[in-house]
Symmetry: C2
DNA sequence: TAAGAGTACGAAAACGATTAAGCAATAACA
DNA sequence: TGTTATTGCTTAATCGTTTTCGTACTCTTA
């Protein structure tokens, strides 16, 4: 392995000189710098991150916690979009990304321990089980942490604006003339679900809509079966809704299938809307009305904030960054005369 | 920071003893080991990966090259499935995963240099531009490398069996009675495309089918527009095919839309088949006939082989591992009487 | 009892980098 | 000419581990 020492010997200087020359310090002559650089190049020298990290306590490495619960792992379109944005931005800013896990080198260790072990300079929690005490330990630890779609008092958070998202969606649907709007919401206790549901109630109240109890239903994210079942029930109501909002674009497919089977047409007979703005949502005919969450942007914002917290700890605040969703009207919500 | 030294002082022994005690070496008494471990625990000690890597030349870290060209990055369902399998298996075996990139700490460096810098012990190339000289440098370097769906003479490769996949698919379609089978294939120069196309020809030859030139068309992976265009042309032929095979499940959606618009029904009027076995393919009605590529398995096999190459370099061969695809019949290929 | 074996530990070097402090030579200035 | 600055480099310590070798002690055994 070619190290500073190798170069130093070749150049007839000390390793200190070589180090400074390569780091472009001012107390080395231009002549020496040139000589050192040339031999470094010639020998194919590259610094050793471990040695540097040991000495400087800087690893230029950030840990990413990605424990997706729905069992889809990295194939989860939204989260992997976030991860991608994070990756690209972090790389641009000169950081590497390593996944945090819990059984490095076959020993069990907590997330936090793993981070200390690897000298991560910061942590991005893309998805995790927030009821896990290990996750809590991580968030309460002394490393800068940024969370996605989750608020914790001492961590910077980047969140998709679910409140505004549902509001735009409902208002758009209302604008199309719909008054009987049903909402099949996702079923968990996350901020995401709470925000969306609250926003749905607030917006419909604001619009003066009286939404019957049976129009509000609970299914699961990314699950077509439950969405299908609920859709059937909704359509069998005495006074069925004219438009159904689903937990997300994927679960909407379940409802869509039921609708097609019943011989109904979208949007002529029944309107539907999703959430997420997945790729597939715009490939289907008719294209779905949905709220596009800008996952890439969420990821890159997260990376920016985190790295800023790492590099300028004194001037960085714990922030709540909210990324607006964009309404994609599609063609799945028809117009109704009132 | 609590280090070996801290523990050593607390216990009144040398750092050497502490190190050995924690690593369970045999020349330390049980009594001392117990004492050391207890204080280590009490002080919240955790080893420092950088120091250890520096000394032992082992990082327990593998680099992953993931440069997806279609612009979908980590959201590419197949590749992210592979990555997930890789991640899970590597973690199980005690390794961390870090993305390889090219501009760490704002300097430009090649993939290979990045790997040396980070002391990666091995490299998994999930997707990359294989015409990039940097990728070649990496594959020809002295680190163990495993490639996915790409063969390079001195790297272990894990590939989806596209030959067998297309063969099963064509034979299934033939078995349903189809004789006029069109194939819209992906357009690139990869092994994947070549294998599939060759297998299509071989299988149809074997079955004694005479496939007209105009039944073979070129579109793009994951692109609905081109698939839609080609579908239209195929359906307008004097003697249109009874079944169309698409590059993948996603591009099939484009064809499916055209078919629906024309008032045709799948599979009554025209049959279609995809490739990949994406989640969405089994959510649509009718479910698609497709070949499921076991991305997770491909990823975990890759991790296993790579780590084996790292840990037992002498007994590990450069292998070609082929993972079979599974036919999912779905309901999109109808039966035809002959 | 003396030699040899075994046990339990310590001293010190090493991994590859960074950096504070020091020092010699030259330049600048009164 | 003597004093002070500046320049350009070296020395040596340090980061937290691991590991080789040495040593002191105890225990066997002939």
């Amino acid at each position: 392995m070619v190290s500073l020492k190798t170069i130093a010997e070749k150049c007839g200087v000390s390793t200190a000189t070589v180090s400074k020359a390569l780091n472009d310090q001012k107390d080395i002559s231009e002549e020496t710098k040139r000589r050192v650089r040339k031999t470094a190049e010639a020998l194919g020298y590259f610094p050793n991150a471990a040695a540097r990290a040991l000495k400087t306590n800087r690893s230029y490495n950030i840990g990413v916690l990605f424990e997706e619960e729905a069992g889809r792992g990295l194939t989860h379109e939204y989260f992997s979009g976030v991860l991608n944005g994070l990756k690209v931005e972090a790389e641009k800013l000169g950081y590497d990304i390593t996944f945090i896990n819990t059984c490095l080198e076959k020993r069990k260790m907590s997330y936090y321990e793993h981070c200390r072990y690897r000298n991560f300079e910061g942590v991005a929690i893309v998805c995790a089980d927030y009821s896990d005490p290990d996750v809590l330990e991580l968030m309460n630890g002394d490393l800068p942490v940024v969370t996605i779609d989750y608020i914790h008092h001492n961590c910077t958070a980047v969140c998709s604006n679910n409140i505004q998202g549902i509001e735009s969606l409902v208002k758009y649907i209302y604008g199309q003339g719909h008054r009987k709007i049903a909402y099949i919401h996702g079923q968990d206790s996350s901020y995401v679900t709470k925000d969306r549901l609250a926003s749905f109630y607030r917006t419909t109240d604001e619009l003066g809509l009286k939404i019957p109890e049976e129009y509000i239903r609970s299914a699961e994210y990314l699950e077509t079966k439950e969405a299908a079942r609920q859709t059937k029930e909704l359509l069998n109501l005495e006074e069925p809704p004219t438009c159904i909002i689903y937990p997300d674009d994927t679960s909407l497919i379940g409802g869509r299938n039921v609708i097609t089977e019943l011989g109904l047409k979208i949007p002529e007979d029944i309107s539907v809307a999703g959430y997420d703005g997945t790729r597939i949502s715009q490939l289907l005919h008719p294209k779905l009305a949905t709220i596009k969450q800008d996952a890439e942007l969420i990821g890159s914002e997260a990376a920016k904030r985190l790295i800023s917290a790492i590099e300028k700890p004194r001037t960085t605040l714990v922030e709540r960054v909210v990324i607006e969703g964009t309404l994609i009207p599609g063609q799945s919500v028809g117009t109704i005369e009132n």
